[in-house]
């Protein structure tokens, strides 16, 4: 009997879990939402262009509407005026969704340690893969997407249960501006107090 079934069906049936099947399908058709605000966006375009050809990895379908995407790629610095926009776009994306923080600025603020630039988007929204570099090479972005695919295949669930477990803030804690003063004092550098401060 068993051999008869095998003879009839051959290799056409295999057993797996629903989670694995869903994750396999999702990981091989990631639709990126390019949130490109700076020079990393140029590398992002280059990654999708013919030379590096992101479509080899099944995630070339960039859509400029968050409703149609499931992978947010934040490429570039995020100013404090832009962060509410970024958060809103992230919330508009349908589940399941993932986020790649591309480049030094999106990961940590980069060289822009100023009042106007957010010091890493992971302080205010979840990030799955970080890419270092200023800007990163297209190969690095491809590696990040491959890593993300591996991640989804390894830990993805069909109803996205794994996201419900991530209920705490994952980025660094709120930066304390007095910390700067303490660091300078610890290093023996005196922070001169402003002589004139009418507003505060």
């Amino acid at each position: 009997m068993a051999s008869e079934v095998k003879k009839q069906l051959g290799d056409n049936i295999f057993l797996t879990t629903l989670d694995a099947a869903a994750s396999w399908a999702r990981s091989n058709s990631l639709w990126p939402m390019p949130f490109a605000t700076a020079c990393c966006g140029i590398e992002l375009m280059s990654t999708a262009a013919s030379r590096h050809d992101l479509s080899r990895f099944g995630s070339e379908v960039m859509r400029f509407s968050p409703r149609q995407c499931d992978l947010m790629i934040v490429a570039g610095r995020v100013a404090m005026k832009m962060l509410p926009v970024l958060q809103r776009i992230w919330l508009q994306m349908p589940e399941p969704k993932w986020c790649i923080s591309m480049g030094a600025c999106a990961c940590s603020g980069g060289v822009f340690d100023t009042y106007a630039v957010v010091q890493g988007i992971d302080r205010f929204m979840p990030v799955d893969v970080y890419i270092p570099g200023c800007p990163p090479r297209p190969e690095q972005l491809i590696k990040a997407i491959v890593d993300l695919q591996e991640m989804i295949k390894a830990g993805g669930t069909y109803d996205a249960r794994e996201f419900a477990l991530r209920d705490t803030a994952e980025g660094p804690a709120r930066f304390d501006e007095d910390e700067l003063i303490r660091i300078r004092e610890r290093n023996g550098l005196k922070l001169e107090s402003p002589k004139y401060d009418p507003v505060h």
Partner: protein
């Protein structure tokens, strides 16, 4: 048409001084560029005469300098108007000094409407108030911003404005 800069400048100076004898004008030249310092209370009157009498029909730039802790500086803010006469090709720098707590000057939008965004930017960065401006609000920074970041006593890393956002966790998004 060739312009003899040395005579053009002095011509402008003579005409402006003749038109406004009661405005204290301090004239100087730096690298062939005419500069004049006038009191803040008379700046609007002076700018109007610059346009109507001296023919400066364009305000190319309006900016501000914070002179806090600068060596030799007496006043806190220096407001700089860069004027251009398109026909004659001459330029004039008009400066005025402002001090706390009176950081108010009349708007130049009634003289050159191009001053609109320039004045809003100066307010945004330095907190200089331009009275009579048709749409006076911040230009670049968000409306909730309370500081004026290009002032020298404002820390470069800010006062926590860049951290003042809600945190979206993965389970809630």
């Amino acid at each position: 048409m060739t312009l003899d800069n040395s005579t053009v400048g002095s011509d402008v100076q003579a005409r402006l001084q003749a038109s406004l004898p009661d405005v204290a004008q301090t004239w100087s030249t730096f690298q062939g560029q005419e500069r004049v310092v006038v009191p803040a209370s008379q700046i609007l009157q002076f700018l109007k005469v610059c346009r109507d009498v001296a023919g400066f029909d364009q305000l190319t730039d309006l900016t501000c300098v914070d002179l806090l802790e600068m060596q030799g500086a007496v006043d806190r803010f220096e407001l700089v108007y860069c004027l251009l006469s398109v026909d004659a090709g001459t330029r004039l720098i008009v400066k005025t000094y402002l001090n706390e707590p009176n950081l108010t000057v009349p708007t130049a939008t009634q003289v050159w409407f191009g001053a609109d965004w320039l004045e809003r930017e100066v307010y945004d960065m330095f907190g200089i108030v331009f009275e009579g401006h048709p749409n006076f609000k911040r230009l670049l920074l968000p409306d909730e911003f309370v500081s004026f970041p290009l002032r020298k006593d404002y820390p470069q890393q800010g006062r926590g404005e860049r951290h003042n956002f809600p945190i979206i966790t993965r389970s809630k998004s």
